[in-house]
Amino acid sequence: MISDKILKRVSKPGRYIGGEYGQILKDKNDIKCRWAFCFPDTYEIGMSNLGMRILYGSLNSQPDIWCERCYTPWEDMQKEMKENNVPLWALESGDPLCNFDIVAFTLQYELCYTNVLTMLDLAGIPLMADERDENCPIIIGGGPCAYNAEPVADFFDIFSIGEGEEALCELSRLYINMKDNGSYSRKSFLHEAAKLEGFYVPSLYGVSYNGDGTIKEYKPLYDDIPTRIKKRIVKDMDKAYFPEKVVMPYIETVHDRIMLEVCRGCYRGCRFCQAGNLFRPVRRKSANTLNEQAKTLFKNCGYDEISLTSLSISDYPYLETLCDELLCWTEDKKIGLSLPSLRIDSFSKELMERISSVRSSGLTFAPEAGTQRLRNVINKGVCEEDLMNAAKIAYNGGKSSVKLYFMMGLPTEQLEDLEGIAQMAEHVIDAYYQNPDRKKGSRPPQVTISVASFIPKPFTPFQWEAQDKLQVLLDKQKYLGSKITNRKIKYNWHEAKVSHLEAVFARGNRRLSKAILEAHKRGLMFDSWDEYFNYEKWMQIFADCGIDPEFYANREYAEDEILPWDIIDIGVTKEFLLREKKAAYAERVTPNCVEKCSGCGANKLGGENSCCPKA
């Protein structure tokens, strides 16, 4: 635990004090397995993560397991800790991480990797998995980046693949049993863990490379561990563990609101989208379950906003029922509903009225590409008419600010596709003035377009694509800017250098760990923060390590190449992804799962209240 004297000297001391309402304290004497659950970013970001809330609750639902929280201290605190010999501690008990049985990291985005090393270093835990002895905690990683965690494989003992609420309890059980019956050693535990479904122990799989740097082979070191690691899913969302209590932060975090997880997965099949493939099959909660869970959450946390969380909320078939049931009691309590992932083709007047009944918020839509041709390539499946309809509904309802998300650098993109983005934004503005039903006296329309750069992601039909080189992306950003002349259109773009580094890591292999280690040694951390991100330093590090970042980001991967993430089985098959890639180049739209099953393979994982045919 940290002293007041130090806390008085650092910025935002509220990040480090713990003691929140809803935190879980246990008697150490009753505990057989202690978890330190780390989010490798600041407290404010980590505390807003729904996955971590769920896993914190599910592990703590076991009487002999105690899971605590830990976040990356800001640089001023890191300095104080080093100067005063304070090792990184967990918030609940204040005990140093090195005393825990298991230290877990949730890997939500690639640019958190240096923070993982920062935290291990502050905890005094050896950074390399093969340098850890019997006294070291087991270091485990999970979350979306664990599906291709090869760039950080050398730092982790185990990866949890897929949904963790059941799997992590099983892993703890194995740990406790082996400790109890005396069969535990670090080596034997890792071997046994590798046999559990959904756990990848990277040190037990040898990788060999071809002369050109591509992968030759993944070879399991034992015969009794699987050759591919199958992801875990929770089959029935209505019966899944649900955290009734929330740790209530004292300080303001990114999302101070109830996050009501409506469903997992998305049946649309956008070809650039990783989440849409990783989290298949779609599994939904019933409206009744959700309404009850929302009531419980409100009683236990008191937030005045409920965010309906899903990859595509307007695709939830019982959305109307759910909103009506929620509004029965939320309106009275002045609780606002927010729907963060609206699709323009399923947005209705009724839906908008429901979400704006208490607090007004702007509307955000994601057409993703500027022309119908390119939208067909990415299988976005919406047309300009949908957007105009959605905009009209918004204007009639008195909304005048609309945010549009796009991507640039998508496969097959031409300059006219970029112009299309500017035109779409213009049309949304025009729709306001052409609309006689718009609410009188409302503010003039404001359209914000946010343009991200395409990143080829593992487990998508575009996983083989080359990312546009940095200069091409920068030129495209400039070109689009030149096409936007209307002052009512605000143009934002993502930093292309960041997207480039993300692409390197997203499709990286184990050889990148050398660069990440070196980056840590040279003081890099908080790469996802503008004030810390240093592209030039990263490029220097790659050069010094003999790594060509373009090999990972800007190379078209061969279709018959063994990919670093082929060792993971997410349910969706490589054959399906390849079919989808071909359909993309044929500019052919694939119907969504509700219209027609395309045989992606995810149905073999099972799942209740899904749209999949039974396997």
């Binding site: 007041d4 509220g14 004090i17 003691g19 309402y21 101070d256 008191g302 309590k333």
Partner: protein, 202 residues
């Protein structure tokens, strides 16, 4: 008569000294909602529970006498409010008392502080004729002589006790005085709030 004014006295101790006033407001708001207190909302575009606080506490200072006024729109006994709100907060922010306000916040004149020093200090600067502290204001830094705002400073069994002016215009932060005394490590707890007539505030 509804809506009825209710005064809530609470503490803010231990690690909560690092929580800002704004964060305290947010915490209280969620606590009121999870406690199911029928709190009166402000009207307008963005309705929120009406809460009025007495003296905002500086970060780093603890207190056993914080006050918040709310209004309730339905009958609820003071005991029940106390119970429900206590259950919705941690012990460091325990609810000490709930009652109908007897005085106005504007009547507050003084506060007492108990200081536990953990390192060396020298109180002599406080007994000089002028006690100048530098305050940061909108116009820049200003030096103010606060001698007449210090009612008393005493020591007893290793602790320092101060009675200081606390009304808005003349508020003295004990941390500033301790800086003059070269005390670098200490605990400050606000113990009691008084009116201008030196009556215990209620």
């Amino acid at each position: 008569m509804l809506p009825q004014s209710v005064r809530i006295k609470f503490q803010k101790i231990n690690v909560l000294k690092f929580i800002s006033h704004l964060d305290l407001c947010r915490t209280m708001k969620t606590a009121l909602l999870r406690a199911g207190i029928p709190v009166w909302y402000t009207e307008g575009f963005n309705p929120h529970p009406k809460m009025v606080f007495s003296l905002p506490l500086s970060i780093g200072t603890e207190s056993e006498c914080e006050y918040m006024d709310i209004k309730i729109t339905e009958e609820m006994s003071f005991d029940e409010i106390k119970q429900r709100l206590s259950d919705a907060l941690t012990a460091d922010m325990a609810i000490l008392d709930v009652y109908a306000p007897e005085m106005k916040f504007q009547e507050i004149g003084y506060a007492t502080y108990e200081i536990t020093p953990y390192a060396s200090y020298d109180l002599s600067p406080l007994s000089k004729d002028e006690v100048n502290i530098t305050k940061r204001t909108k116009k820049g830094e200003a030096t103010v002589n606060v001698k007449d705002r210090i009612v008393s400073v005493s020591e007893n069994e290793g602790k320092i006790y101060m009675i200081l002016s606390a009304d808005t215009e003349r508020f003295v932060n004990p941390e500033h005085l301790l800086a003059l005394c070269k005390s670098e490590d200490h605990r400050i707890v606000r113990k009691e709030v008084y009116t201008r007539n030196m009556k215990i505030f209620r």
